[in-house]
Symmetry: C2
Subunit: 345 residues, 2 copies
């Protein structure tokens, strides 16, 4: 069985994933019987195209990285916009990786809704839809008997959603806390080492991990949206980003970092969810944590999530110094799960 | 569909699991359609019994905890020994939780082999069989089209084997390092807090986490066997416990702990696996680690495993201060995976 793939968004993450797909094609077929064929790609600034035959992913990646429109590729037809692509692509699986919109989750929600309604499996690395429309999209996927997967939205390819769904069956998530934003952790640990805020932020940009608008990271929005995504999926919170008590790290000075160090502590941007009488309460803000603690031990872009459950006590998952390749891996792991589910049907 | 269960071994872990099964029976049926019926229990000192009808698990737990033989229970027939039980029980799933034998993995291997040959799914919390006979038992399970699951053998119910199998598809494990033995970690962190070796060991015994023979913990055998189990399953190492370069913590004194602390370090018993030209090299020994590191942050009975992969970089899983309930949960999570697999067939 050959899976037809469509890409909505073809930025760093999608292209890194495309590279894995091409370099690992042999292993994926041998190990999982998985064979893929890309039939459509929609980008913001390099055109939207479909192909009756197959788009060569290697060519597509180098075309975009040279700054050319995808319409240059042989056999590719221009297809208007992303929605036109979704309506024409005839894909089995759509990868939605457009940039995050913090206010509404659009246009990603519309892309995903349209795909699911057409009976197309959706894999996304965009946390907006999970923060703004999770329960709607989940029901839609169930109704159309397709998969809606989003492992890459929190902690990149580190298993979080799949971990709870597939590996913690029967256990209930009671609370969580996490250092979920790589850019702010790089800045805070950079400042601990004497680098300025701006130098560390520039490094995050160089490594391609800062949001397109880095204020999203620095002001705590990225952490807040991730907390909402986690709470919605793991705790049925039905929360929205505006529900999070949020503050960022913009005002944190060397003086604050030194004062913390004097008492064996460091500052981390921590997101927390707890069940309360009024549902799930959510915060994302800088906290003083002991240096010799899990959160204190997180260096550079590292992330960690502590999950408190009823039957399994407290476990944590840590991602050590990830880059874009780890988000790309999330798309692969979701693709393999989708492929397995299609086989089982 | 009602699953018939047999218990080989009915110690702390199995009884704690039996408690979950009885208290969560309603939820397990609602959420997974899972209904269980125990038909046989084999113990070392409280008799081996089968029942044509059903053994009430609540009654069985209190019978054993009062020190009585299970033959006291109504409707239970004496069944000789554990092998006789396996041959008569007619179970769908066997839970093997007999004590670890460090030299051979027996009699657990025989219990598991017999079960698999009879087409019975096996769930074990006993690491011996994974360290001594993994590839044989795995092939046997495949040949008889049944599941052989063992999440509880390393880090209790914290997903490790299921994590890699179900949540890291397509990625290869290149190396790992872990603090895997709770008893020694409790002793080392207890000594950091000024408690004596013996006091901390007594606490581990009280909490039911020390091996029946605590020398297995203290001499590093438990960590070594776990490293072998991980290497065999995650890296196809085909290793045996004797292959591990192993040393324990018996000789570590307050002086060593103080000397480490003077340079911001602590001592942890660390197991490591790395690929080398000659296969997989394995060590389990005390290491100096930075206090402000993941391993340094592990308090009490906590464990952690760092997994290095090709596509997903480095991730870690941490289990915070577990007790027997967490090993019991491993049996439940494996049972749900087995149940799902039966549905998919």
């Amino acid at each position: 069985m050959e899976l037809r793939l469509a890409f909505i968004g073809f930025g760093n993450v999608a292209r890194s994933f495309a590279r894995i797909l091409t370099t690992r094609a042999g292993e994926l077929f041998e190990e999982y019987g998985l064979r893929c064929k890309t039939t459509a790609i929609a980008t913001g600034t390099h055109a939207c195209v479909t192909s009756r035959d197959e788009i060569d992913l290697r060519d597509a990646v180098s075309c975009v990285e040279r700054g050319n429109p995808l319409t240059n590729l042989p056999g590719c037809e221009s297809a208007g916009d992303s929605l036109a692509v979704l309506n024409q692509c005839g894909a089995d699986v759509v990868f939605e990786t457009t940039p995050l919109d913090i206010d509404s989750g659009e246009p990603a929600i519309t892309h995903i809704r349209t795909s699911l309604q057409r009976g197309i499996h959706v894999i996304t690395a965009n946390k907006g839809p999970i923060a703004f429309a999770y329960s709607e999209l989940k029901s839609l996927a169930e109704r159309h008997n397709v998969q809606f997967r989003f492992e890459g939205t929190v902690m990149d390819g580190t298993p979080i959603f799949n971990l709870v769904e597939l590996c913690l069956p029967g256990a209930r998530v009671l609370a969580f806390s996490g250092v979920l934003n790589s850019t702010t952790n790089l800045i805070l640990t950079g400042m601990e080492a004497g680098q300025s805020f701006e130098e560390s932020l520039a490094e995050a940009r160089r490594r391609g991990i800062a949001e397109a608008n880095a204020d999203y990271d620095v002001d705590g929005w990225d952490a807040a949206v991730k907390a909402v995504a986690l709470a919605n999926v793991l705790m049925n919170a039905e929360a929205r980003p505006a529900d999070v008590k949020r503050s960022g790290i913009h005002d944190i000075s060397f003086k604050d970092i030194e004062a913390a160090a004097a008492s064996g502590k460091v500052i981390r941007l921590v997101a927390r969810a707890d069940r309360s009488a009024n549902g799930v309460s959510l915060v994302a803000r800088p906290e003083l944590v002991t240096r010799a603690s899990l959160f204190g031990s997180l260096a550079g872009t590292s992330n960690a999530l502590v999950i408190k459950t009823d039957l399994m006590g407290e476990i944590a998952v840590v991602e050590n110094d990830p880059g874009v390749e780890q988000t790309a891996y999330a798309l692969l792991s979701d693709l393999i799960v989708v492929h397995k589910s299609m086989h089982q049907r």
